[in-house]
């Protein structure tokens, strides 16, 4: 038995402890994060799965908890991600400006996340939501960019405040902050407004179009471990809210008879589709592997939104399964890139190459992760995408389906580029000496994640069974699953069979690889073009401008959203300057003039 309250308090106290330990010894402080987050994960997962979590509260005022399958699903997943990523902290923490603070904020945001998933009170939900915002906020600038943090703050606060507005509207309707009863009490126009506001919160947290600007900045520039946490963990807060907004509340607007879908579902699906397309197109352009994965996270957020808004049994279980699959895959990929950057100090693909020779395990982890991201069997990403594709086609959303497929094919294009450029290919001279495989404790979480990615792809039924509990809870018909089969709308999937066929193929390929003659290693300069000798190795790097012809098609339009927000910001600045100009002169007579004008206007005629 374990009490949720105690787990949260424990996490927060461990955070404070890690600060003081971190002041004495940087690495020791980050070891506390490993121990604490592992403990939290194990207790949440074990007791949660066995229905032994106690939700009564004794110490915390105003906060009440309850255990729902939805909350438990997200809590187990996110604590797992935090626990896995925490293994990276000791290896990175010394590079950061405030190492002790890093450890503390890491655990405090974990505590906040747990609160969000377990509370049954909207006010506490908002409290924890904002708590997560500011604790994670100060982790970001320890990485490469100082601007990323403020843009993260801006967008997630827009989301939080939309959430708050919805919360208060629901309270007015129901007189309570209780999540279940206040969501049940709204109907008609109010329900529509609440649903729209919650959707804004979900969009902001997921980094979906048009609230997407922060996501690539944060994921691309945070400390390596924090990028993984954001992509696998904190971003999933958005998915949690999206379930509340899109599945628990009924869709609204004009209902199309043929498909049975409401206007709001079309709008959200369209925005989700745009997110997928934009994320994919931007990911293709990136030279920085972390930025690339960041945009890929964005496009995967789009999948989750599309799936959840359709709200059929295949789509919701596909959406939730995608939450798991993407969390595992993107965390593994970010960690793999983090492991490379720890040794080489860069994540730019044009500056890297041939890391497979020194880091074979990291290479394999990345390979497995991207196979899952691209939705290829036998990895977890395939199962979720299979379900989502079916749901989209089944509902006749042709254009969305095109976007969804485009995203999948696009992800083939981009995820293999870091593989080819960064791990395969020629070793660059500057990294030849320094590179070696990541230390054992960094490999542990990566290997565990890879194992789970394969497991979710081969035997999805365990997780789908759990997701079915969530589905029942939120009022969606559960998905039909057998012991080794998944029944979708258009047929039965046998992932284990697919995996074994795939395994046989890999085995044959491996035998051929062993039997055939080994390739000969040559230097990058061991070549010539048109009779000229090559002097700069970097120019020979074949990941440079890899998709130039494709990029040329849309490179004019890549900054549309960014420019929009930039212009918005400038408008606020302009307004401020204008006000300063009119009201804050060094002349008191101007102030008197304003007083006279205001009194004149107010006293004009009989308006009082």
């Amino acid at each position: 038995m374990a009490s949720i309250e105690l787990i949260i308090v424990f996490t927060a106290l461990a955070g404070v402890l890690s600060y003081f330990v971190g002041r004495l010894n940087k690495v020791a402080g980050s070891v506390v994060t490993i121990l604490a987050s592992m403990f939290v994960f194990v207790s949440v997962a074990y007791f949660g799965y066995n229905n032994e979590l106690i939700h009564s509260t004794e110490f915390l005022p105003y906060v009440t908890f309850s255990v729902t399958y939805l909350g438990l699903f997200f809590a187990i997943l996110v604590t797992f991600i935090f626990a896995m990523v925490s293994f990276f902290n000791p290896f990175f923490v010394e590079k950061y400006k405030y190492p002790a603070l890093y450890s503390m904020l890491y655990l405090l945001s974990l505590a906040g996340v747990l609160g969000v998933f377990f509370t049954n009170n909207f006010m506490s939900l908002f409290f924890f939501f904002e708590f997560v915002v500011w604790t994670s906020l100060f982790l970001i600038p320890m990485g490469r960019s100082k601007r990323a943090a403020s843009s993260y703050y801006a967008f997630s606060t827009v989301g939080s405040f939309a959430l708050l507005f919805a919360i208060f509207i629901m309270r007015e309707a129901s007189g309570t902050f209780n999540i279940v009863s206040s969501m049940a009490s709204v109907n008609g126009t109010e329900a529509a407004i609440v649903s729209a506001l919650l959707a804004v919160a979900a969009f902001a947290k997921l980094g979906a179009f048009p609230l997407n600007v922060w996501l690539p900045r944060v994921l691309g520039n945070s400390p390596d471990a924090i990028s993984a946490v954001f992509s696998g963990g904190l971003e999933k807060l958005g998915a949690f809210v999206a379930v509340l907004a899109l599945v628990k509340l009924a869709p609204f607007g004009y209902v199309v008879d043929a498909t049975g879908l409401a206007a709001s579902q079309y709008v959200i699906a369209a925005l989700g589709a745009l997110t997928i397309v934009f994320g994919t197109l931007m990911a293709i352009r990136q030279d920085d592997a972390k930025k690339l994965l960041a945009y890929s996270s964005m496009s995967n957020g789009g999948y989750i939104l599309v799936a959840l808004t359709i709200a059929s049994s295949a789509s919701v279980s596909g959406g939730l399964y995608h939450v798991v699959a993407h969390a595992l895959a993107s965390t593994a990929a970010f960690l793999a890139i983090g492991a490379v950057s720890r040794i080489t100090g860069t994540t730019k693909m044009s500056e890297l190459g041939g890391m497979i020779h020194k880091m074979p395990v990291t290479y394999l982890v990345y390979l497995i992760a991207i196979i899952s991201m691209a939705g290829i069997p036998p990895m977890g990403g395939f199962i979720s995408k299979w379900l989502i594709f079916q749901a989209v086609i089944d509902k006749g959303m042709i254009l969305v389906a095109v976007a969804v497929f485009f995203g999948s094919i696009g992800s083939f294009l981009y995820v293999f580029r870091p593989l080819a450029a960064l791990f395969l290919g020629q070793e660059l001279p500057q990294h030849r000496e320094v590179s070696k495989e990541a230390p054992f404790f960094m490999l542990v979480p990566m290997v565990i994640l890879s194992g789970l990615i394969i497991y979710t792809g081969v035997l999805p039924n365990f997780f789908l069974g759990f997701i079915n509990n969530v589905l029942t809870e939120v009022g969606v018909t559960p998905l039909v699953i057998g012991s080794y089969t998944v029944t979708g709308t258009n047929g039965v999937l046998q992932p284990a069979l697919i995996a074994s066929v795939f395994g046989v193929g890999v085995l044959i390929a491996f035998i051929i690889f062993i039997v055939l003659k080994k390739s000969r290693k040559v230097g990058l300069m061991d070549t010539y073009t048109a009779g000229n000798f090559i002097y700069t190795e970097e120019l020979m790097h074949y990941s440079l401008d890899f998709y130039a012809p494709l990029e040329r098609l849309y490179e004019k339009y890549i900054n549309i959203t960014k420019d929009f927000y930039k212009r918005l910001e400038n408008k606020v600045v302009d307004l401020g300057r204008l006000m300063k100009y009119y009201f804050f002169t060094n002349k008191p007579e101007i102030m008197v003039l304003w007083i006279i004008i205001i009194m004149g206007i107010i006293l004009w005629g009989d308006i009082l």
Binding site: K146, S150, Y153, T157, E172, L575, F583, N586, P588
Partner: protein, 460 residues
């Protein structure tokens, strides 16, 4: 003991301090400390001065509301003095007069007496701000302040002619009894509101603020932005909730002016690149919010908004003004990395700004959530929307500022904070955090304050 000592003793000490120039800082320190301590020993009562019964004579109202105000203002005043009394020796006498004036503002139950105290504290403020070494701004402040208090006086004269009383509670009573249409008293109240608006930093009556606070030092920054602002907040709160009668149209117009003040304040802070400017425009927006909350009639949470602002602005202005005094610049870019070697002060600054934005586990969050909740409960959706949108803007510039002040690698600005500043800001920051988590006493107090009826209390 009687609450009148809070006014008399500082005033007397001010005269004594002229005679003993050398001892004057210590007199100031002792008197300001004593007025905090004495507060615990005075019973709540209404004091009639000179034996003239209440509507005819002047009375001082020492109730729960003024008690909180006095505690906050006197404590912050003492802290300002503790930090500055050595450096600004020559200001000791004036600061004592300011203390008398501020306590008088909080205590008085008489509208004309209020005018007198506005003048006293105003004159003290003009002289204190002379230490900014920006005479033009001080002169503008003088002109603006005088215009404001004259408008207040004109409004008051009209009211006196109409109802024949100057006592606040009696005035409210007379207006209610006589059944005068709200539109008939709109003009005097508007004049008085504008008059107070000058001191309360409401747009567009606040052009003096920029000149004063943008060149403020360690003394004037906290005292104007925190101590004076808190006092005026309490005064406006009392008048708006208990005395003033606004017709619906006038209320609407004023609400719009206040919302505009909030929006403009945040936008101006957003467009500023100097730390002091950012803070001063932010406090303009906060002042607008305070008045707005009182205008809606939420006494309890309005009070705690004033308290949270005063404590927060105290930390913010003390920290930045000390740095800008030392460095001779307050450009954000010159102060980058200020906290790298001043972590304790930096943490306090961070707590104060996160509380100002309204993030959880800090006092600002509790206050903001309750105000928003009350507004929603009245079925008001527009005002919360404006507050939330401006909060986003506010959050962005504060977060930007914080990140700039915390993160820089080389060429860090060298600023030494003496231990007293460290103690003061850290204790205030801890209090902001403690009451952000342990909210029960605040909530009881806020609910109690809502129940106090000033009209009955003032006429005892």
């Amino acid at each position: 003991m009687s609450a009148i000592l809070l006014i008399v003793v500082p005033l007397l000490a001010a005269f004594i301090s002229i005679l003993f120039k050398k001892a004057s800082p210590y007199i100031l320190l002792i008197v300001s400390f004593a007025s905090v301590i004495v507060l615990g020993y005075i019973e709540l009562e209404v004091i009639t001065i000179g034996g003239f019964a209440s509507p005819y004579g002047i009375n001082l109202v020492f109730d729960q509301y003024s008690l909180i105000g006095l505690y906050i203002v006197n404590t912050l005043f003492f802290l300002v003095v503790a930090i500055n009394c050595v450096k600004f020796k020559e200001m000791s006498t004036i600061l004592l007069i300011a203390l008398a004036g501020l306590n008088g503002l909080l205590l008085t139950g008489d509208l004309f007496n209020l005018f007198v105290f506005i003048e006293i504290s105003g004159i003290a403020a003009y002289l204190i701000t002379a230490t900014n070494k920006n005479p033009l701004a001080t002169f503008n402040y003088l002109v603006a302040g005088t215009v404001g208090s004259s408008l207040y006086l004109v409004g008051l004269i009209i009211l006196y002619a109409m109802f024949g009383t100057l006592n606040m509670a009696d005035m409210a009573n007379e207006i209610a009894v006589s059944g005068v249409d709200a539109s008939l008293v709109a003009f005097p109240f508007l004049l008085m509101f504008i008059g107070l608006g000058v001191e309360a930093k409401l747009l567009p009556f606040n052009s003096w603020v920029k000149g004063i606070l943008a060149s403020s030092n360690k003394l004037t920054g906290p005292i104007i932005a925190s101590v004076y602002a808190a006092t005026i907040g309490f005064v406006v709160g009392r008048l708006l909730t208990s005395v003033f009668v606004f017709s619906d149209t006038l209320g609407l117009v004023i609400t719009i002016i206040l919302l505009a003040s909030i929006i403009a304040g945040e936008a101006m802070a957003f467009s500023s690149n100097k730390v002091r400017e950012i803070l001063l425009f932010s406090s303009i927006a906060q002042a607008g919010l305070v008045v707005l909350v009182f205008l809606q009639g939420f006494i309890g949470w309005g009070v705690f908004l004033v308290v949270a602002n005063a404590a927060g602005k105290f930390i913010l202005f003390t920290v930045t003004n000390h740095a800008s005094d030392e460095l001779g610049t307050d450009e954000v870019n010159d102060l980058k990395g200020l906290f790298v070697n001043n972590k304790i002060v930096g943490l306090a600054f961070t707590v104060a700004s996160l509380s100002a934005i309204g993030l959880p586990v800090f006092l600002g969050f509790v206050v903001k959530m309750n105000i928003l909740g009350d507004l929603f409960a009245e079925g008001n959706l527009f005002i919360p929307a404006v507050i939330l949108i401006t909060s986003v803007v506010e959050g962005i510039y504060f977060v930007r500022l914080l990140i700039k002040l915390w993160y820089k690698e080389h060429d860090l600005p060298v600023v030494q904070y003496d231990f007293i500043i460290k103690y003061v800001v850290v204790i205030l920051a801890i209090l902001i955090m403690v009451f952000g988590v342990y909210t029960a006493p605040i909530e009881t107090e806020a609910n109690d304050l809502d129940l106090i009826s000033f009209v009955e209390g003032g006429n005892l």
